[in-house]
Amino acid sequence: MTGAATQATATNDVEREVRAWLAANWDADKRCEKGTDKLDAKGWLTRVRDAGYAVPTWSPEWFGRDFSSAEARLVDKAFREVRAPGTGQDRSNLGAVTVYKQGSDELKAAHLPGMLLGMRGCLLYSEPSAGSDLAGVRTRAERNGDEFVVNGQKIWTSSAREADYGMLLARTDWDVPKHSGLTFFILPMRQPGVEIRPLNQITGESEFNEVFLTDARVPAANIVGREHGGWQVLQTALAYERLIMGEGASQRGGTKVSRVPEVIAVARKTGRIGDPAMRQRIAQQLAWRQLNELNMRRAKEEIRAQGSSSLMSLGKLAMSRIQHGEARLRSEMLGAEGLLDDAAHPEARDANFDSAKAYMNSIGGGTDQIQRNIISERILGLPREQEADRTIPFRDVKSG
């Protein structure tokens, strides 16, 4: 029997096993556990976890099955078919993945069981004076016996109010250069020292919060990785975050292929579809979007063939001219109607909203300018930017 045939048999076994398990435990019609009438989320997630399907690629010691990612995709497929939740957390549960990959056995034992049962996390990385320059965080964590006392301010935190824990990057040593004095903690969010205030965004939304930490407490046992080794932990956590966001983007992209593009819909409605000059600009916008999709298709082929693709890092930058450009073009086609903002003028409302929302892509997760630095340095091999604060004690770094 050839290697490929052996593998095919193995994956069939996985598929059979998962289907049988779901058939025995999940009621696809009522969408809850077999024999019950209503979904008990925690109870169901416990079952999924204990069967090894929550994180199938992890080791059996930590709730996994040592499955390959191909096998894990089969688990995913079987769960999706009957619309059962709980699997794929080895790809989607950022907090759990970070603890699994970087945490000590004690930390894993203390946190993984709960994290896999629907505990919510939030990110406490960015600060008002540490945005693009994340290693410049000034939130202070000071040891006091077997716990740390945390003081500072975090920003751009989504789901802060719903979160059970925060993934916190804080400074624990001020006498070494900036990357060397950081520590990564799992901070309990529901405590008196944590105050959450929503941010009002230019889109009219409030998805982000500011988090004020005033003498908040975190056990020393909640350090992920080494004390002062937070920068390395953060790199892994950020890599997973990008992976999760990338998967989300490709799934979102896949659902709206057949829809009429908004630029065409607005052009038809406003009669600008017949304007030759406008037609050229509409075509250019559609082209930028389609070219980006073709680049991402090529990226996926390259990843399949050789494990990685430098094309992945171009998508975010390309998306900026797509989003800003489309929103601006739609506003222009709407003319005076673009001034209005009420339910009777949905195209105007959407164009105004999208014009603001486009900054989410061109600023959030690294500005376009930072992206261009990254692309020119890591892909094209051009020299790195000079950093005045890279080697001096953080205490002496200028801020403002």
Binding site: A283, L286, A287, L291, I375, E377, I379, L380, P383
Partner: protein, 366 residues
Amino acid sequence: MSAISPEDRAAMRESFARLLASDHTEARMRATTASPAGFDRSLWGKVGEMGLLAVLVAEENGGLGAGMREMGELFEEAGKALYTAPLLESAVIATSLLALSADAEARARLLSAMAAGETIAIPALTGDSGTWDAAGVAVEAAGDLLSGHAAYVNHAASADVLLVAAREGAGVALYEVAPATDGVTLTPQPANDPSLRLSRINFEGAAARRIEGADAAVIRAALDRGRVAQAGEQAGGSRHVLDMTVAYMLGRYQFGRPIGSYQALKHMAADLLVEVESALSAARHAAAAMDDGSADAVQLVSLAGFACADAYVEVTAQAIQMHGGIAYTTEYPLHLYWRRARSLAQMLGSSGAFCEQYLGEWEKAA
């Protein structure tokens, strides 16, 4: 379905790249470009021996029976090395005109010789606009005699066979003409891009042989193949020019540091990489869609039609700026790529026209 495996395709591409590296050095390229024919006949023979001219020729006519995926990748290499010759004219457009026609006799007689590099066939399809448009054809067929003129015919002086579009009643048909025939006169049209050898051709009762089953639809399809091959050339050329520019930015020092360390230039280079990769994606997906006869083939061909042309013009134009003074001299080769980019952007239709066609496809679909 292609008769060539992906491994063979890669091997073919690699041999072509090696051949160009040894026989098409910058010095040779400059010399042959300055020669009357504008290309090197002995190198053309080697290209033929490698089978590169046979890619689009069916196996029954002595070809490889491959498709635009293979041709597109070869054109990427041609673009990098600025290799022109009548590759587009003979091996893609003329070959496709015959392959897509219903004329088995002409195919049998011409294609194997074209595939071997022995016969160069040159399409003469356009009138004074230089862009394909059935209504713009300025040659009339009366029986087997042609009168009128064609313009912007590249490499006409090197042709062993001309394939001429001519009006025939309400429609358009294709005729085979030997350039030495009485009543055929070539007048060179001097060009800005030194790799071009453009001619205006006058026909005064020139004897011709009709190619059966080659109407306006066949001509359009052959030109689409040409456009996709050109997209490969534009993508490959763009890639090479960006690589050249980055290498220069690393080696050129001003104010005590490489100019590639300045953010103003780094950011320009990052933006150009988006253009380069987008052009490559557009060219390759258009080629694949054409080979597979996908429903979105017309859309992807028109996308490649302007996206690759615009990318090549943009990348070469910015590259001159990023280099600075050295690229303003003729001894530095960058201006040759820039000229090529500018001429390719006009040769088989303008970006504006492809943009219009592209939006038209979107409107049909949505």
